[in-house]
């Protein structure tokens, strides 16, 4: 029941918030709920058996019997850390929005909880239609978060986000329906939407011919996920959405929603279409490499800090795609680790940008300069997060990018050579930005604030420290002791790499006592 609790508890919270009469205590209540949700996920993690490669805590009930659709959820090493990331970021986002969201507070928190439920559902679903329901359900709250609480061009950004993502996913729906039609071959006559039955399908593959079943299905799924990741050249919705979204929206977008795309490559694309994904791996690796370099180059010339970070996301997600498609254990475990890193470091960057924006209402790099003197603690936090983002050793970013580069070197040294340039470029644009914003002569904003006592720049408040400390701790924790996190996923990744051709997952309903 623990997984269902995780998925549906946020919905219950949202309902309670809807009925809550007191406007002034909504924030406190929501924060409490999100912490409770995090506690539940910790309980789940405590019982999680990292020595087991298959799905754990499995629950399965028939839902729409006529089509073999069931409520089927389970968790394995690939999803466990992403679930933790989702529940971990939630209280941080609520705390971060304490000041910046000052109208329609109730609606905002309801949207956040519905979004959390949908995201957890898409990580945990093992039934294709159930997965699709959660996948699409996550669009609506995000649409409102960007559209209602966003910046100046919020409507353009949010409609673009919605239509881009939906355009990708309807083809996936068609592919799911098509595969459901094939399942009677392996289930002995019954139609089924279970992912495990999909794994058993042997879909014919003809190398080089596009209009064959496996290739078409592969691209239908891959396109849906590529838009979500987003992979170059389908990334254009992301900078718009990021820039216009309110801070918590950017955090959840970068932190979790983009990972839904990359996670689904591991859960769906690689095991379902092994031949096609091996045959077309070059395409995705090439797009990943282009994304890394393109994202970095575009980030370099951005005048807006938030846009810079948004394009750096495109660049970072390129690494993850490469790590996945080189299909060896270094690459995949690096990719999975990088998903967490990106969630934390980019999430923290958006939080920091949100904090300064609340004070100055400007994100233009050229207006800043000399911020380090005015806000020393803020500067320290920002520099640490920057180090993590550009993969300096001892921070989490290093582990992930190093593993991915190692994996891609094993696959083809040239890929590693080219993509390593992204690390250099990444260091360049981030450090330039840090230099211009924090050091050097005092810029327009800082000098203005020094004179004008009413608009003086205050350093981090206690609430902001509470927001940042968990992120900073994780940056070092994950950088120094990667095994604390990787051990959870090791078995599952090894299982995926070894059995990609005939993938199957064992099921385990509950952890037996004394098993660990």
């Amino acid at each position: 029941m623990i997984l269902s609790t995780l998925i549906f508890l946020p919905i219950v919270f949202a309902l309670i918030l809807t009925a809550w009469p007191q406007k002034s205590t909504i924030r406190q209540l929501a924060l409490g709920f999100s912490l409770l949700q995090f506690a539940v996920s910790i309980l789940m993690l405590k019982d999680f058996d990292s020595g087991f490669a298959g799905l754990q805590f499995v629950e399965k009930f028939s839902w729409i019997e006529r089509f073999g659709i069931s409520y089927f959820v389970g968790i394995d090493g690939i999803s466990v850390m992403l679930v933790m990331l989702t529940t971990f970021l939630m209280p941080i986002m609520i705390l971060a929005s304490w000041k910046s969201i000052d109208e329609k507070i109730k609606g905002f928190h309801i949207a956040l909880f519905v979004l959390q439920s949908a995201m957890l559902g898409s990580f945990l679903a093992v039934d294709a239609i159930l997965f699709y329901v959660f996948w699409e359900m996550s669009l609506v709250p995000m649409y409102f978060i960007v559209g209602v609480w966003g910046g100046a061009r919020k409507i353009y950004a949010t409609v673009k986000f919605f239509i881009y993502t939906m355009a990708g996913s309807v083809l996936m729906l068609l592919a799911i329906i098509f595969m459901m039609r094939l399942t009677p071959e392996v289930t002995g006559g019954n139609i089924s939407a279970s992912l495990l039955d999909f794994y058993k399908l042997k879909i014919p593959f003809v190398a080089g011919e596009f209009f064959t079943a496996q290739t078409l299905l592969f691209f239908a799924f891959a396109l849906a996920f590529a838009i979500k990741v987003p992979l170059f050249p389908l990334h254009t919705w992301l900078p718009d959405a990021h820039v216009e979204a309110p801070t918590p929206g950017s955090v959840v977008l970068a932190g979790v929603m983009l990972k839904m795309g990359t996670y689904c490559y591991l859960r769906w694309v690689l095991p379902l279409f092994p031949e096609a994904s091996a045959h077309y791996a070059w395409l995705f690796i090439a797009l990943g490499v282009i994304g890394i370099i393109y994202g970095a180059l575009v980030a370099m010339i951005q005048p807006d800090v938030k846009k810079l970070v948004a394009y750096s996301s495109v660049s970072h997600m390129g690494y993850i795609i490469i790590g996945i498609f080189v299909m060896n254990s270094f690459g995949v475990s690096g990719a999975l680790y990088q998903m967490l890193n990106h969630g934390i470091s980019t999430g923290a960057l958006f939080l920091l940008i949100g904090m300064i924006y609340e004070r100055t209402h400007s994100r233009e790099i050229s207006k800043y300069g000399g911020l380090a003197k005015a806000m020393p603690w803020y500067t320290i936090a920002f520099v640490i997060v920057t180090m993590s983002s550009i993969a300096v050793p001892m921070t989490n970013g290093f582990i992930g990018e190093f593993l991915i580069l190692l994996g891609s070197y094993k696959y083809n040294p040239w890929i590693a050579c080219v993509s390593v340039s992204g690390v250099v470029l990444g260091a360049a644009y981030m450090l330039w930005m840090v230099k211009k914003v924090f050091f050097g002569p005092a810029g327009e904003i800082v000098s203005h604030a020094a004179v004008d006592k009413e608009h003086a720049l205050h350093d981090l408040s206690a609430r902001e420290i509470a927001v940042l400390v968990p992120m900073l701790v994780l940056i070092f924790w994950m950088g120094l002791f990667p095994n604390h996190f990787m051990d959870y996923s090791k078995k599952s990744i090894d299982h995926l790499i070894a059995n990609q051709q005939n993938y199957s997952l064992e099921l385990r309903a509950e952890v037996k006592m004394g098993d660990k």
Partner: protein, 486 residues
């Protein structure tokens, strides 16, 4: 042939009798009181009781696969469910009429009389197995509608719409009847059950029969607004009072599709590749025309009219699937299920629109929704639910409707139609999102009309709850449909 009318016939058609009797009550009351309009609330209650009793009788006697009057009217699962959906839509329409500015007032009892007689026509239409009886049902329904549209308090556009609908509708009826005459000439029967036996071979060998079937199909295509026979739809939907538009878009469409389904069940499509090809293209064109044209509208009612055209396109996909399928109860159930979901969400959207009309000459554009969420959070939320469901977003009911419809199409190998269907649902998102953007993301002071509208509010909320919840329990509902059609 036994020409006497037995008790079983009377029991079977008891819903029709009840409808007719109840339709007379408000009107008689008015005539007996010096032509003075009676209390509209009591008229409404009488009408709703009539609809409920008719629905109850339909449930009890309807789905038994029995025929009345020597096989003229067939009461099977299709009759029962399509009839129930239509009765539901009529009840919703009546509630809206009671509170809408264009239909309130001195002619309410006449409106009730016409509504209940049009639904009587609809029940004949869905139960008819004889093409002539079917035609009678079609005309009874249509004639009542022409009048209902013209009776609006609005003085110009509604009259134009009524004339337009009347002229074009009569033309389509004529084509339909012309087709029936060809069918009778070539097959010597106008009974659909008899046609089932040899339609597939006749349509191959006999050009006259093919001609007749094509004309009948065109007649139906007009009624359900399949492009290129859709041109009347936007104008009539816009001109008619909103409650009646809602009634047309839901009840009329449901029963027309149900009758269309019955004609399709003759396996004509399996015999004629040409007709099959043409219908597939019509489906694709209808979906695309409806959605692309809807994007270009600024008037919200017109947007909904084009959206209903595009939904006809989706439904035609299901209809084609049912037409070529050997196991048609599955495909037919998906069409019926879609009709139910479509009717509820369209009715809901029109109901919110109806509440927002402040005067009979008030036509809402998208801008008129600005700030609606601030003033009417509950109604704005409900409208959002309806629009997202129309766009097919899970976990709302509209998604499951599309899922079943397109799975049936994929099952019959009509992958490309399903592909067009899903591509079109993405296009449709664009215009369904527009009012939501306006309601939640723009400032303004949109509000509902000031006179009390509790009944419509209840209708909207109930429909929204149904859309939210029923998706999760759609499996048993679908199985129920499939069983009763089997």
């Amino acid at each position: 042939m036994n020409n006497s009318i037995g008790l079983s016939d009377i029991l079977l058609i008891s819903p029709l009798i009840v409808l007719f009797l109840f339709s007379l009550i408000p009107l008689t009351g008015k005539v007996l009181n010096n032509n003075k309009e009676q209390n509209p609330a009591s008229s409404l209650i009488v009408a709703l009781i009539g609809l409920c009793v008719a629905g109850g009788l339909l449930v009890v006697f309807g789905g038994s696969d029995q025929t009345a009057f020597n096989g003229q009217l067939l009461f099977d699962g299709l009759t029962q469910w399509a009839g129930l959906i239509a009765l539901l839509a009529a009840a919703g329409g009546l509630i809206m009429m009671y509170e809408n500015t264009s239909t309130q007032g001195k002619q309410f009892s006449e409106l009730i009389f016409l509504t209940m007689n049009s639904i009587l026509g609809m029940l004949i239409l869905v139960s008819a197995v004889n093409l002539i009886t079917l035609f009678i049902g079609l005309e009874l329904m249509s004639l009542s509608l022409y009048l209902m549209i013209a009776m609006s308090n609005e003085q110009k556009i509604s009259k134009e719409a009524a004339i337009k609908y009347f002229v074009l509708g009569s033309f389509a009826s004529a084509i339909f009847l012309y087709g029936v005459s060809f069918v009778f000439g070539s097959a010597n029967t106008v009974n659909i059950v008899d046609l089932m036996a040899n339609a597939a071979t006749l349509v191959k060998t006999n050009k006259i029969f093919l001609f007749g079937m094509s004309f009948i199909t065109i007649g139906f295509c007009f009624k359900v607004s399949i492009a290129p026979f859709h041109a009347w739809t936007p104008d009539v939907y816009q001109g008619a009072p909103t409650p009646i538009t809602s009634y047309m878009a839901t009840a009329v469409k449901t029963v027309s599709f149900a009758a269309f389904l019955r004609v399709m069940a003759t396996q004509t499509l399996n015999g004629s590749q040409n007709l099959f090809d043409v219908l597939q293209w019509l489906a694709v064109i209808t979906m695309t025309v409806g959605n692309v044209a809807a994007i270009m509208q600024t008037n919200f009612k017109r947007t909904l009219a084009y959206s209903s055209i595009s939904h006809s396109g989706y439904l035609l996909v299901g209809l084609i699937t049912a037409g070529i399928s050997q196991n048609s109860s599955y495909s037919a159930a998906s069409v019926l299920f879609y009709l139910l979901t479509y009717s509820v969400m369209t009715m809901g959207a029109f109901a919110v629109l109806s509440m927002m009309e402040k005067s009979e000459n008030h036509f809402l554009t998208n801008e008129d929704f600005s700030g609606f969420a601030k003033n009417q959070p509950l109604l704005a939320f409900c409208l959002t639910v309806f629009l997202l469901s129309l766009a097919g977003l899970p976990p709302l009911l509209g998604f499951f409707g599309k899922l079943y419809l397109f799975s049936a199409a994929v099952n019959e190998g009509l992958m490309w139609l399903a592909l067009w269907g899903v591509i079109n649902s993405v296009i449709s998102v664009f215009y369904y999102l527009r009012p939501i953007v306006m309601m939640y993301m723009k400032d303004g002071n949109a509000d509902i009309a000031e006179h009390p509208q509790q009944a419509t509010t209840v209708l909207v909320v109930v429909a929204a709850i149904f859309i939210l919840i029923a998706g999760l329990f759609s499996g048993p509902l679908f199985t129920l449909f499939e069983k009763s059609l089997g």
